[in-house]
Point group: C2
């Protein structure tokens, strides 16, 4: 155990921040950490937009489903998959790289590159006593988010990360049993998975029950199944294609 592993294992999402902005130095350090992450074939497909303008932050909070901590925090980062840069580079070299960028493969690379950068930023922030929460809610109304931040074609905002000095100390929800997420040499059998899920259902039901004084008694299986019963953000396929991504 060391400071790094302690920081990582202590993670919990923070949704209430003190009214204390991050310093410029801290912002720069966090972005440098994001940039230091691995990137597929040196492509560096991630761009980060720091949102500072109060009106824009409030608009983003609204678009994300009225999540106040999108506006009220120490700083707000939006992580984008970005192939616009490569298109400009290709223009400089009079080369056509559109087919590459429009591919499903490039879409995977872009999502992974952006997430690796974001997680570096998050761990670095937490090491400084700064809390973080990922904001997938930006994808509720992604066209409006994209327009608000003037994102051109080939740039897709993926999620936000709100950061700031914590003003809450939430618990850590139990993760899936380790054998459910870590298999050896082969993907586990359906039976193994089902057994582990049954065990996890009981564990998480107990966790919620204890924390709500018995008001909430649903475990992970019940909760996740219910939340996934209706598809979300069904406009996504068309929107992503309109950005020139995930087409072929």
């Amino acid at each position: 155990m060391n400071e790094v592993i302690e920081t990582i294992l202590a993670h919990r999402s923070i949704r209430k921040f003190k009214d204390k902005p991050l310093s410029e130095d801290t912002i720069t350090t966090l972005v440098q950490c994001a940039q230091a992450a691995s990137t597929s074939s040196y492509q560096q497909v991630c761009t980060i937009i720091g949102v500072e303008d109060r009106e824009k932050k409030e608009k983003l909070a609204e678009l994300a489903g009225n999540q106040s901590y999108v506006a009220d925090n120490g700083y707000f980062f939006v992580f984008c998959m970005d192939y616009n840069r490569h298109m400009i580079a290709a223009d400089m070299k009079e080369t056509d790289i559109k087919e590459t960028i429009e591919s499903t493969e490039a879409f995977i690379v872009g999502a992974v590159d952006a997430a690796l950068a974001a997680q570096n930023l998050s761990v670095a922030a937490e090491s400084l006593g700064i809390g973080i929460v990922y904001i997938g809610g930006l994808r509720n109304r992604l066209k409006e988010v994209s327009d608000l931040l003037d994102c051109p074609e080939y740039v897709l905002p993926l999620f936000g990360v709100a950061v700031g000095y914590p003003d809450a100390e939430p618990g850590i929800k139990p993760r899936l049993p380790l054998p459910a997420v870590f298999h050896r040499d082969s993907y586990q059998t359906k039976e193994e998975t089902a057994n582990l899920l049954e065990k996890y259902e009981i564990e998480t039901a107990k966790y919620y029950s204890e924390r709500t004084g018995g008001k909430r008694t649903e475990g992970w299986v019940t909760q996740i199944t219910a939340s996934m019963a209706s598809p979300k953000r069904t406009y996504m396929k068309d929107f992503v294609r309109s950005k020139g991504l995930n087409k072929s």
Copy 2:
């Protein structure tokens, strides 16, 4: 600056490992760190397959384009987007969640969840003096990788992470100028991007020239444009759909 940020900023990919396996304790710690990462709506869409069998490792090395360090390392992890678990959970609750899982939105969530977990594992490894390299080459022949690891429908191997005690000390390639990847309040103009890329082209050309005694003089713009001129892994769209993912 602290130990965490120092670890993150010191990252470089390691492609030559000592013949020293990771201990069971270390493997467990790394997987726990992976699990501690944020996950979209508590869905936990990532499964990690540890590959230990020598024959399987050698086969993976071949499939990844004869990358020897896929076989020769301290341990090898394959990170998968995994909705099979949710399908089993839904079966237990007699609920239909297929439409959710097949969506582009779910595909984004899965890629991001897996990458966040992988980056936690990577940073934790590096904090223990263990080197890492991401293996996107697994996507060269993903059906064969998937079959080798018995991945069922709704499970998509995304990339590998080879880890081990470093037997090389490579340099750190210069990243894009910070203002190119960090914008404020709005995505930057095309002119700004182009100017930064021109500057970066010169910087990276100089870096390569110095390291190769003048043999290699192409900068990032030249290199990336050439490498993206022909699309790669064009089978990906169909393969991903055959897994029941990224369909709608």
